[in-house]
């Protein structure tokens, strides 16, 4: 307990705290003993390939999936005993849309507000604001079915905001959307961040994670393999720049030994070769001196994608 009268309301306390958190489904260990903390006001990311255990973690935080082992506190409360109190202060965007297709856009927000036991006048007021925020004011009386994928996602986010949550958990909010719709959606998340809403986001998209997340963890096979800000992670696990080489299809790419001494790290992938160095332009110049002539070359900065490749030996995007 504290001066505010209930546990977890002091700003410096983490909103979410996990120690040795485990989730099992029968013999499958979906989450294998992870530790992390999410603080008020930050955007915290979970990155990882399919099956890494991101959704399982999100569902435990959301108090809809029982913890198999370890310690988990959300707002200082135990999900096993205080689920309704946790959920009352949470906004949830699940990986799989579960909007109510038997109701209209507006009714989706209204009924959700009622689930949180908000007074009807309060809900009405918030609906206007949230429809505006989700850019769905014109679709107010529409059923959910005919909405585009991006609109549905935005409605799900609006629905999750109806109770003015302290913490919002978004499980792959942009997966399956076209770039335009993704852009609109990430712009909305950016606004939430600026309003000080704490966000936990999972994603496959490194570029987005890099821009939005203050801190993130990379998950693989149920474990956290790295943690930090995007910049820290890149500095720690990769070089400043990368030279990407593509060779014509059917031509055997040169072996690693061909690049001896040119790069700090070399990755030969199915479709391209990556040379990690702090000055990729110079590496490029050296390349032609050695008589290596790829079909295409690209000099770019290191991204989280490269960090992921280094840590897991795999590319992230399917």
């Amino acid at each position: 307990m504290n001066a505010y009268g209930y546990p977890g309301s002091v700003m410096s306390d983490p909103l979410v705290e996990a120690r040795g958190l485990v989730k099992r489904f029968g013999d499958i260990v979906a989450v294998d003993g992870i530790d992390f903390e999410v603080r008020a006001g930050e955007v915290f990311g979970f990155l990882g390939p399919n099956g890494a255990g991101k959704s399982s973690t999100m569902r435990m935080i959301g108090a809809v999936s029982p913890v198999s082992a370890g310690h988990l506190r959300v707002f200082g409360l135990d999900p096993a005993t205080d689920a309704p109190r946790i959920k009352a202060q949470l906004g949830v965007v699940p990986q799989e849309d579960n909007l109510d297709t038997e109701l209209t856009v507006e009714e989706n927000l209204y009924i959700y507000g009622r689930y949180f036991d908000l007074p009807r006048e309060v809900i009405r007021r918030r609906i206007d604001e949230l429809l505006e925020f989700a850019q769905l004011t014109e679709r107010r009386d529409s059923r959910v079915e005919p909405l585009s994928g991006g609109m549905k996602r935005r409605l799900t986010i609006a629905r999750g905001l109806i109770n003015q949550p302290r913490l919002m958990i978004l499980d792959e909010p942009t997966t399956g959307l076209d770039p335009q719709a993704r852009h609109v959606l990430w712009d909305r998340l950016w606004r939430l961040k600026q309003q000080g809403v704490t966000l936990i986001v999972t994603t496959h998209y490194m570029d987005e994670a890099e821009q939005l997340c203050d801190r993130l963890v990379i998950m693989d096979h149920g474990k956290i393999v790295a943690e930090g800000s995007p910049r820290e992670l890149i500095e720690r696990h990769s070089t400043r720049e990368v030279l990407e080489l593509r060779f014509p299809v059917g031509v055997e790419p040169p072996p690693e030994s061909a690049y001896n001494g040119m790069a700090k790290r070399i990755e030969i992938l199915a479709d391209r070769t990556l040379l990690y160095s702090d000055d990729a332009e110079r590496t490029l110049a050296e390349l032609s001196e050695r008589g290596i002539h790829p079909e295409q070359t690209l000099v770019r900065r290191s991204t989280l994608e490269d960090v992921f490749l280094k840590l897991t030996g795999r590319t992230l995007v399917d």
Partner: protein
């Protein structure tokens, strides 16, 4: 003041009904009219030449049985498709469980709504029966409560059954091999004493038969096979165990 959580889920169900009531009201009216015309008047004119059951005109004897059977169908239907929609087709159960509502709230709200639906269906049915002159209004209304109970005695177990179903084909099997035979052989259309001797005790085990006994007792004052309290108890136990099992199975299904 806080609204009880189950009532908030009830509100969702009522909201959905606002979109669908027109179609539902039509079938609620049309079904009893058709049955009473075809069976009560049509078939009844043949039956009454031999003297109807219990010395009553067939239409009069049949009507409370039809009421119980309609309640069974409504109850079973409400335990089947809306529940499948909640779990799989629409997933509004999962959506509700992400909020402060618990499985218990959802289940209680669900049955609360089913009770309301059964009340509507039974009242309309009694109104139609009354319009056919087959019952006086007060006795007819006395049968509403037993009819609602019949519906719940089916809604409970059917909800629990649906809660564990992986695929919806299980629902059509339930109706084909469960609900339809009950409809035909539980004393709705003819007294079970007309069945072959070995089938009679079987018929007496079916929940619909208990319900039919009760509605005829309430509407027509006919004597029941067992004391009415026994018939009521059977139906209440069915309903209560259905509610309990629904909570257990939905928790197992949704809280993973």
């Amino acid at each position: 003041m806080a609204t009880p959580a189950a009532l908030r889920f009830f509100e969702r169900q009522a909201r959905v009904y606002r979109h669908t009531w027109r179609g539902s009201v039509v079938s609620t009216f049309v079904q009893p009219v058709f049955y009473l015309l075809a069976m009560g008047l049509g078939l009844g004119s043949l039956v009454d030449r031999q003297g109807g059951p219990e010395g009553l005109p067939y239409l009069v004897w049949l009507a409370p049985g039809l009421l119980a059977a309609a309640a069974m169908q409504t109850g079973a239907g409400e335990g089947a498709w809306p529940v499948m929609a909640g779990i799989r087709w629409v997933k509004f159960y999962q959506a509700a469980l992400a909020t402060p509502l618990t499985v218990r709230d959802v289940v209680l709200g669900h049955f609360g709504w089913v009770t309301a639906r059964l009340g509507m269906v039974a009242v309309v049915y009694v109104g139609v029966i009354w319009a056919f002159g087959a019952v006086d209004l007060l006795s007819g209304l006395a049968a509403v409560l037993p009819a609602v109970l019949v519906g719940l005695a089916f809604a409970g177990p059917v909800t629990a059954y649906t809660a564990g179903l992986e695929r919806e084909t299980g629902l059509s099997s339930l109706f084909r091999f469960g609900i339809v035979p009950l409809f035909l052989f539980s004393g709705t259309f003819f007294p079970i004493s007309q069945l072959p001797g070995w089938l009679q005790p079987l018929a007496a085990f079916t929940p619909l038969w208990h319900g039919v006994e009760l509605t005829r007792w309430a509407a027509l004052g006919l004597p029941t096979a067992f004391p009415p309290a026994v018939h009521v108890a059977v139906l209440v136990v069915l309903f209560a165990s259905g509610v309990w099992l629904s909570m257990v199975r939905l928790t197992r299904r949704l809280v993973v």
